[in-house]
């Protein structure tokens, strides 16, 4: 990886931070490379490490500026970038106040008298290097998640209760609903498939009529010409209709599939939104 690759990747990774922050960070690292000099370029890149790590470090300090904290709690912090992001979210100056009291107990230098510092400073904990995954992070993580957890638990209990009580009714109804939805899907699919078949049939019939016209051209010229003309028109109409209906299927069928999937997901999705 060279300097340009590094900067490009970093810029890409910083797409979701405010423009001003991105520009500032890019300026800093650009200056950094300039000042380190070309001869140290590889060394600097090696030490900076993965651009993702650098980006995470930058984002870590932005905290709620990205404005998507809710998303991280849902995603379960599988992504390491989100892990790092989540940590300062709780450490953001405004939110930090809520945790201030107990936070100092869990912090490693809790015994150190930080009271006299400005509040914005006292909310931060071990920041250096790679200490993101230390106790401080775990603590804030749990404190932020507690309210939704109870809510979630209650919901699960209610759902289980509902299932037990309503099983005799719900299960047949659900099967019936699924059958209806499936049948509707198949019917829709069949309608469009029929259109294609009909168009192909019209084209085929046109060809047949054309041949019939050729055959009857010798005994009856007028009938033969009429049949040939009709056959050509039918063929043309059939081909156009085939192309059109195939196009229609290409557009409509994925839409139907998507709609079908959406319909199946709908009950769950509504729950998630609520």
């Amino acid at each position: 990886m060279n300097r340009i690759e590094f900067m490009t990747e970093l810029a890409a990774l910083l797409q979701d931070v405010p423009q001003e922050e991105r520009r500032d960070a890019m300026k800093y690292y650009n200056d950094y490379f300039d000042d380190a000099g070309e001869e140290n370029e590889q060394q600097v890149i090696a030490e900076l490490g993965d651009p993702a790590k650098v980006a995470a470090t930058i984002k870590a300090d932005l905290g709620s500026f990205t404005g998507e904290q809710g998303e991280y709690t849902e995603k379960g912090y599988q992504d390491s970038r989100f892990e790092n992001k989540e940590m300062p979210a709780g450490r953001d100056y405004q939110e930090g106040y809520h945790y201030g009291g107990s936070y100092q107990d869990s912090s490693r230098d809790g015994g150190y008298d930080r009271g006299s510092y400005q509040s914005s400073d006292s909310q931060r904990s071990e920041y250096t290097g790679n200490h993101y995954q230390d106790g401080g992070y775990a603590y804030e993580n749990s404190s932020e998640q507690t309210p939704p957890k109870t809510n979630h638990l209650l919901k699960i209990c209610l759902i289980i209760l509902l299932i037990i009580v309503g099983a005799p009714i719900i299960i047949p109804v659900a099967i019936a609903a699924a059958a209806v939805v499936f049948a509707a899907g198949v019917a829709l699919f069949a309608v469009f498939f029929t259109l294609v078949i009909a168009s192909v049939a019209v084209a085929f019939a046109g060809v047949c009529v054309f041949i019939a016209g050729l055959v009857s051209l010798i005994p009856e010229i007028a009938v033969g010409l009429a049949l040939i003309g009709t056959g050509l028109i039918l063929t043309a109409v059939g081909i156009v209709a085939t192309v059109a209906s195939v196009r229609l299927c290409v557009i409509v069928l994925p839409g139907i599939c998507r709609g079908f999937i959406w319909l199946c997901r709908w009950p769950f999705q509504r729950k998630a939104v609520a």
Partner: protein, 107 residues
């Protein structure tokens, strides 16, 4: 190093390093200077500088160097006050720790 450098201490160190230059100093030099004292990775200091800048402890300006603009960091009045506070705090803290470590026998 055995001991972690907390955010407050890191802030104090950076403020101290920047405050040594009357005209201000720039990212690469700050990193090199801080590294003379403590081990930090190259990506550690940018967020610290950015934060101090947001807290109005540092101000930035661009200066023309070798045909390009280099960003300089300079300690503000607020930053100086903050650094003084850190200095006082550190003094009392380190005295206490030293007493504990070295004066343990006499207790």
């Amino acid at each position: 190093m055995v001991f972690n450098t907390g955010a407050a201490l890191l802030d104090a160190i950076v403020l101290a390093v920047v405050s040594r230059e009357r005209e201000g100093t720039y990212g690469y030099k700050i990193t090199q200077d801080v590294r003379k004292t403590i081990e930090v990775s190259e990506s550690t200091l940018y967020p610290v500088l950015r934060r101090l800048q947001k807290d109005e402890c540092l101000e930035v300006y661009d200066r023309q160097i070798d045909g390009r603009n280099r960003r300089y960091y300079k300690v503000t009045v607020k930053g100086t006050a903050q650094l003084d506070l850190y200095r006082t705090e550190w003094k009392s803290y380190s005295i206490k720790i030293n007493e504990l470590f070295e004066g343990g026998i006499s207790v």
